[in-house]
Symmetry: D2
Subunit: 401 residues, 4 copies
């Protein structure tokens, strides 16, 4: 560090892919880890370079650059987007700035990776998707950061479903349960203010599970019926700068303007039924994203709190020996695993960002459309909008536009 970390040689001969990242909080740290590690583990056609990082606070962003290994630091995202030595802009800011930055980056000829949710409104997401489609024609790629598609276990689930192992899908039940708002004294961080976060559990956790459910099912949601709730409507104001997820508080209070929890049922276009729940009030559940899919031929179940495992029931087996099996997703023929450790040596949360980087690097090198695309992000946004509309309209069943 502070030194060249590799001799001249093979990797040095690969063309670089120079990354410029906007934002350096939780997601920034995770993406940095992904970009730094990916070339050490996977054989890549391009060589990712951590070119520049951007944040509004000069001292903080320089410290982040130093900490995370970025060569340069910027305090204005427009300057970052304008840099000649940046090929790809990685957007890790809150949702209210995604559209503006992504549109500028695409206009500047950059590839874009944008954190989820794609935007804070359908209109923004539509504009971004249109811009991404145009950019694609120019060879620029745009991807949205639904990293939970890249847990090896969920990627395996998708592969198994695509192979037909579930048959006709009947049920998808999904919950994303956290508990960091249970304490009514937790302060009013940006994640609890609509103008910054767009929505609460819905946009943060709900966006993840909507995307994951549609990805695994291999089809979009057709309509939803929703309830949302804000349990604690007044919270202490945060004292000074905070991350979204923690922070000290002051004596004053402010109004929570996002949902604390969102529940909705729905139908996929094939007629399969879906149940969704996103909450930050599930005491004792720290990061429990649970998804189960039941089809005519089999079932799959996953829980992010045990991310190296996928549970599979093969409904075509004789009943006497059938049961949900725990697949430890650490075998060389599991997705992404040939590059990692021997069987049974599990991966962690952060590796989803390594895998995201791997797939994006391949897409850029090969000119293929990355998944999830901005169009996928827009589809999630439309579901989120339908959820909000249904919740406002007394839960009436609301088609996804």
């Amino acid at each position: 560090m502070g030194q060249p970390q590799q001799p001249d040689g093979a990797a040095g001969d690969k063309p670089p892919l120079r990354i410029g990242m906007v934002g350096y909080a939780f997601m920034g740290a995770a993406h940095s880890q992904g970009w730094r590690t990916v070339g050490r583990v996977f054989d890549l056609p391009l060589r990712p370079v951590l070119a520049a990082i951007c944040g509004r606070d000069g001292a903080a962003v320089r410290a982040a650059a130093d900490r995370h290994g970025w060569a340069a630091a910027e305090t204005d995202w427009r300057a970052l987007v304008a840099r000649d030595d940046v090929d790809l802009v990685d957007i890790c800011t809150p949702g209210d700035s995604h559209a503006e930055i992504a549109l500028a980056a695409l206009a500047a000829g950059k590839h874009v990776l944008c954190e989820k949710p794609l935007a804070n409104s359908v209109a923004e997401a539509e504009e971004m998707t249109r811009a991404a489609e145009e950019a694609q024609k120019r060879g620029q790629l745009a991807m949205v950061g639904f990293n939970y598609r890249r847990v090896p276990a969920t990627a395996l689930a998708r592969r198994m479903i695509a192979e037909g192992r579930l048959g006709t899908l009947r049920h998808v039940r999904v919950a994303y349960l956290q508990d960091w708002l249970v304490d009514p004294q937790f302060p009013l961080t940006w994640r609890l203010r609509k103008e910054a976060a767009g929505s609460g559990s819905l946009g943060d956790l709900g966006a993840h599970i909507i995307d994951l459910a549609q990805y695994l099912a291999g089809e979009p949601l057709a309509g939803v019926s929703a309830l949302t709730e804000t349990f604690v409507r007044e919270r202490p104001l945060p004292a000074g700068a905070t991350s979204g997820l923690s922070g000290a508080s002051t004596a004053g209070t402010g109004r929570v303007t996002v949902d604390d929890a969102a529940l909705f049922t729905g139908r996929f276009v094939s007629g399969a039924l879906a149940s969704f729940e996103a909450t930050r009030y599930a005491t004792g559940r720290k990061n429990s994203l649970r998804i189960e899919l039941n089809g005519e031929r089999g079932s799959l179940a996953f829980d992010l709190e045990r991310l190296n495992e996928l549970h599979y029931h093969d409904g075509t087996e004789p009943g006497a020996h059938a049961g949900f099996r725990r697949i430890l997703v650490t075998e060389p023929d599991h997705p992404y695993l040939d590059a990692w450790w021997p069987p049974g040596h599990g991966l962690g949360y952060e590796h989803t960002f390594v895998h995201q980087a791997r797939d994006l690097v391949h897409a850029v090198a090969e000119g293929t459309r990355p998944e999830p695309s901005f169009a996928d992000g827009l589809q999630v946004q439309r579901v989120l909008a339908a959820v909000e509309e249904s919740a406002e309209k007394n839960s009436v069943y609301t088609p996804v536009a």
Copy 2:
């Protein structure tokens, strides 16, 4: 058997409680096991006597009487209800006959235990509840058979919630998942015909989880938003007599007139949110009634497939040592357990019927109102009706009457 099974003595001196049971299929067998066993395990104020059993097929009901230990057999429920040697009528028939039998039994001066759901309509349930209220004044008791309140783990959960261990309730999520209809060739038994069963998954499984959720929460549901679905609308006709749950089929087909699955969200009167799912299409889930409750101070979780376990998270503990603990509900100070085996020697499904019998015998002896009462059954019926109404009205949020 066929011989007196105990010498004259203490138990013989207790006043008898003479049971007459209508129905002898799955529920009849389970109730028989409960009545036969309860006095062998618990110290009871009354001595249950299996006086008479009733079914329409004379040979079959005599065989059932013989198998299950009933002293007499009847083929007309009116005759059973009229017997002088019957103190309590135990109704184990499909839901379409509950009201008529229960009303007649109450009119005949009998105590009544009625299987769930209480009735096939709110109107019937209201009439039954009124009759039960009147009967209560005459010292006759009426109870509805929501046996899952009497799993030791759910009874412990209720006790812990009543002690305040969860604090303000935020979330209740419940699913009752079975898979016996996944095969489209499963025949059209009475459970799939609306005129006999009233409804499908909703009335069968949904009734259980509505009651259990309201019982554990200690409060009623205020309103619901629902989706229901019939995935397979045409099924082979059954060949000859079948139980509801199995049977051979013939060449002809008939129309399924009940729901295959029902999903609904809702609000409890306190504002806690609820999520419900009842289905017979969850491949690989055999009898998975899962309930989780999250409160400001703690959480509880239960799965009927592991019925000797209750999972508890104490949210007031220091985070470093907190976690969901698996309480093996087999300790002497757990509900019902002082009468059973040493710690760790688990009970089974059927013991819920022993416990139900125990509690009802005590209520009769002591003249106390049994729980769940017909009023509790009516409340479930009202939720079921609200679910059906919401499902018919495009999932609009529908208050429970």
Copy 3:
């Protein structure tokens, strides 16, 4: 109760099998439940009759007879053995009286069911086995009560192993973990005195797991290397009559003369390796009998605390989809399950005694040798003796005689 419990009829036409039981504590209650229930659930060739029960305390045994449904009570086991109306003597006393009672019962022409361990010494067990072999020639059967062979999940495991699903066996690891002696103030009941109990954890828990391991493996242990320990050597004397598993204590103390824990490794005759542990000091483990078998083609795992489940890994499957599957052993084609409840409606500990009764009734009716036979009990006794010998001889590997 106190009344005939069934009308004359089919069951009444079956020949009776009249049981006389010695002992009425924990095992007596469990066996009573088995005998009372078996004919209500299974189609049997004989009709079990609870003829007489025996215990030394007249009032207590009469209360037990009344409670558990026995027609007569005796205070001298010799009188019970001599009764003309007893066909089968069921021995539920501590191990020090097994040999005497069993030998007398066989001499009196009775069938015998003897609780485990078969005896307190190899010599006793040998004599009992010789007597049982002679009796078998006269048509009298003798069975030892290793009831854990009759958990549906262990019976399924045996069936799968017999089918060759594990292939060449490599490892058997077994532990039986309880914790009721952790408290040093727990009193010195009969289970802690060598003269009554023979040994401690070893004879009580160890006997169970030795039998189960040999039964599942389908082969005997060839030799063992053992450690035993008594952690708490002095305990308060019990106050008055106690069961073995609980009781109040007095001011005085006495010496614990049995082992608190026994650990041993061993080899099966095929060369498979085995690891055994039996203890009453595993804090938090209430009745955790865990067994795992690893073979060249697959593995099986079971835990008595979740007795309706068997975990199976099919080693011949492609690695990408392989994993330990949880078989919920409640399907109609699982052992014993066709007579019980629908799938997913689990059984409990006590049902092992119903199944034991079922198999013994069939063996008596059909004249087949019951399993486990006294010879099986003797083999367990020989392993126990080898364990004790090895423990005394500095853990040296000791062949099973």
Copy 4:
């Protein structure tokens, strides 16, 4: 990469700790990941620099240097040890070369991190420990790479035990189960030859669990009684270069000269009993290192296949609410976790090497003796020797020297 990865600045001002690593296979890749990542996540007093890597095959080691980010490559470990720009030698070779390299590195004034097992014999380990003690006086540190001490869950377990939460220890049961040798056609890699690997499951897996058990118990083993076995004695020869854990094979066969499995029981110096099992034949168990400790006041259990979880039973709680709780070891006040992700976002296997690097960097900067020291490694070696001696002497109980 191939570019400086950070700007001049804070990190650049920290003194460097220049690492030279010998070996670049599985352990080399894992250590590289640790060294590369540690300064990005933790605040360190020194700045680790990946100075040079060494391996015998020039092209391969240059590729490894490039892949893993090492500045220079060497083909002779003596040259690496002699480099002026190396402060710490990290030994990731098979056990037969540990002693020679470590002694040379210490003699050359370097700090040393040596993979486990410390050596292939007690004599070597003693010499290494003596050298390390001398070096410690000169300010050079020596640490052995028992990385499983640095899983956050095991580190938490150690902290809880040190706090007295288990009280007097009664039982430690440990197994390390893998299955990569089940197939008799798996080739004879270096891990199966005694001259390279020293021993088989025992030295590889057994060393890990001996160290972990002694570390958690906080005391050494006093003696052991052991069985070892080689199930498959003849295996195909590997074709060309292989890693230890995989590879193609040729037509010829060779003799397996190490154990396939090792079982032993033992006593800790306090009198607690221990049970150990190490095997590569546990079909379906990929990397299942399971440890459970039972004490008078509580119990702890861990399984490496679910490495983010620690199970804890608090024996001092009222029985009605007690149970093994699953602590999700991802809270900020859990060991190492304050530097990582929010609660519930789990870590993986590789992070143990990051934590190992973190602790070693601190030890070097602060001049404190690192743990586990070479003396700890020697203690493990002595247990391994006692196990081998006992296995050779018919399992007789053998004191640890």
